[in-house]
């Protein structure tokens, strides 16, 4: 039987991966094993158990937010069971461990996966490449490690027929790799709402001339009930926004209902992080800026004249 091992640091994402694993293994969920890192009482086991997964592997000693500890747990299970597929979320933890696990298994690997198709015993993976300019179809041999983008598969639901709860297996700690030691750890500074979760995002780009002018972006975001994000130069080079979150292929990927890109030229590295926005509005002085061609609505205007007018209309109209 084809077997899959599933892990995500986020329990809700686990359910998405269980759905994905069912595609990869060709339908049956009894071949899917779920790794839960950290203590797992009745409460935490209930939902995944009801989906019909084969086994729930509990690594009580493991910390789901510590990539090294997660890697250790995955390796312990993989060494024992040699699954055909390992499914992870394509976040920094998933991408950290994916390469090493694939080389350990001697198999294929794909990250940033947006879709899976299984036909005739072979699995085709779809992933975004070329800075968002291409969707590659990749045929992946087993064993394979797949890191899947969040939100691409529906969460697995409680199955009526499975009835019985999944078998729970406790995984022993194989011991740490003493060559790597976390000597300091603290929660990250964030500038506000998680951009990944925001329904409306106003993105500020290099069109803003001074740091204090960003108040226009914040006022617009407030009027729209959204969050403010920025392109890489504003955060990384200029330090105009606190924290280290910018929108782009190597930064945060957003998927809001509405993105308003203000003074953003629209380079691929940025656009690839915002392609999942439902509606894109661009405000730019330059009618030839790439963002204009990549938007649903483009206003060719000076942001310093247009934003105050837009904020006023939004406020007045409510």
């Amino acid at each position: 039987m084809t077997r899959a091992l599933v892990f995500s640091p986020d329990d809700d994402r686990c359910l998405e991966l269980i759905s994905a694993a069912s595609v990869a293994t060709g339908g049956g969920l009894d071949g899917v094993d779920l790794l839960l890192a950290g203590p797992a009482g009745e409460e935490r086991l209930r939902t995944p158990s009801s989906t019909g997964v084969g086994r729930i592997v509990v690594a009580e000693w493991s910390d789901p937010t510590d990539a090294f500890s997660v890697d250790r747990a995955l390796r312990a299970w993989i060494g024992r069971e040699r699954p055909d597929y390992v499914l992870l979320t394509s976040d920094r933890i998933g991408r950290q461990v994916a390469g090493g696990l694939a080389q350990l298994l001697g198999g294929g690997a794909s990250t940033e996966v947006v879709g899976l198709e299984s036909a005739g015993g072979s699995l085709t993976v779809k992933r975004m490449v070329l800075g968002g300019k291409g969707i590659a179809s990749e045929e992946v041999d087993t064993p394979a490690v797949l890191a899947i983008q969040p939100g691409r598969f529906p969460p697995a639901e409680a199955s009526g027929t499975a009835g019985g709860a999944a078998e729970v297996v406790r995984l022993e700690d194989p011991g740490a790799d003493h060559r790597v030691r976390i000597v300091e750890r603290r929660p990250r500074e964030r500038s506000g709402v998680r951009l990944e979760d925001a329904e409306v995002v106003v993105v500020a780009g290099r069109g803003f001339e001074r740091r204090e002018d960003l108040r226009l972006a914040f006022e617009l975001a407030e009027a729209l009930g959204g969050a403010v994000g920025a392109t890489r130069p504003l955060v990384a080079d200029l330090g105009w926004l606190p924290g280290s979150d910018w929108i782009g292929i190597s930064g945060v990927r957003i998927s809001p209902r509405l993105m308003v890109a203000v003074g953003v030229s629209g380079q691929m590295q940025f656009l690839a992080g915002a392609l999942d926005s439902k509606v894109i509005v661009a405000v730019n002085k330059d009618p030839n800026a790439p963002i204009v061609g990549a938007s649903d609505y483009a206003v060719v205007a000076d942001l310093y004249e247009f934003l105050p007018a837009l904020i006023e209309v939004l406020r007045g109209g409510r």
């Binding site: 090493g100 070329l130 291409g134």
Partner: protein, 266 residues
Amino acid sequence: MDVAALVKLALDVEGLRAEPGEAPRVDQAPTKVSEIDLNAVEEAVSIRERVGGSVTAFSVLNWGPLSRRMREAREAAKRVLAMGADRFVLVADEAAVGADTGFTAAALAAALRARGPFDLVLAGEGTEDSFGGLVPGRLAQELGWPYVPYADGVEVGGGGSVRVRRAVGDFEEVVEVDLPAVISVTQEINKPRIPTLMQILQAGKKPLEVLSLSDLGLPGPGAGRGVRVSSVVSPRVERRGVVIEAESPREAAERLVEELRRAGVI
């Protein structure tokens, strides 16, 4: 400290033409050093400047056609050498074109062993064209070395270890790792230097070594293993493309708000 920097000749995505539903014209697009790999080179050179040692850049050519890519690779090597790398090792072989990340890692491991030993391997956290981020982790596994990705800072102390500052999920971490190790870097770690004209002229005299797979004692990537790209098409992103023109900012604002309300977005 002897440092190896991994450098990919990535497809220049800005220069890539793509029509929705069709395959992007990959053969016609130029390649260049992937941006984040320049950060890896910069970090390697600045480590050598701080503690001494050497910097060797390694690259495996993934894109064909080989004749054209070789020309681009020589230019790329020159840039990396001008930044301060001491030598450049290029693995170029028809059989390695289009190889998957597992094979690329195996080729890099063989080249590193052949031209080593090294204390540290640095690479970008991902490449612009593919952004899989798999090669450094696969290489670490292949070499049996620890792997610490996403370095925003690398501090070289004494005692055969380095400290890596990085952010993962909701946490910032400082990770101490024993050498030899593989570390991937983000664009935050530094600003790659722009070589001077003199450095560019001198780079031409630095060693560029071209190796084939047989030089490394490697067979080509075998069938039935890994990942094969069967097609690449440009996504059909359906954007409405409405350009709002108006006499005044106020009028433009009113029209935009009207459009957004009609579309049910606000």
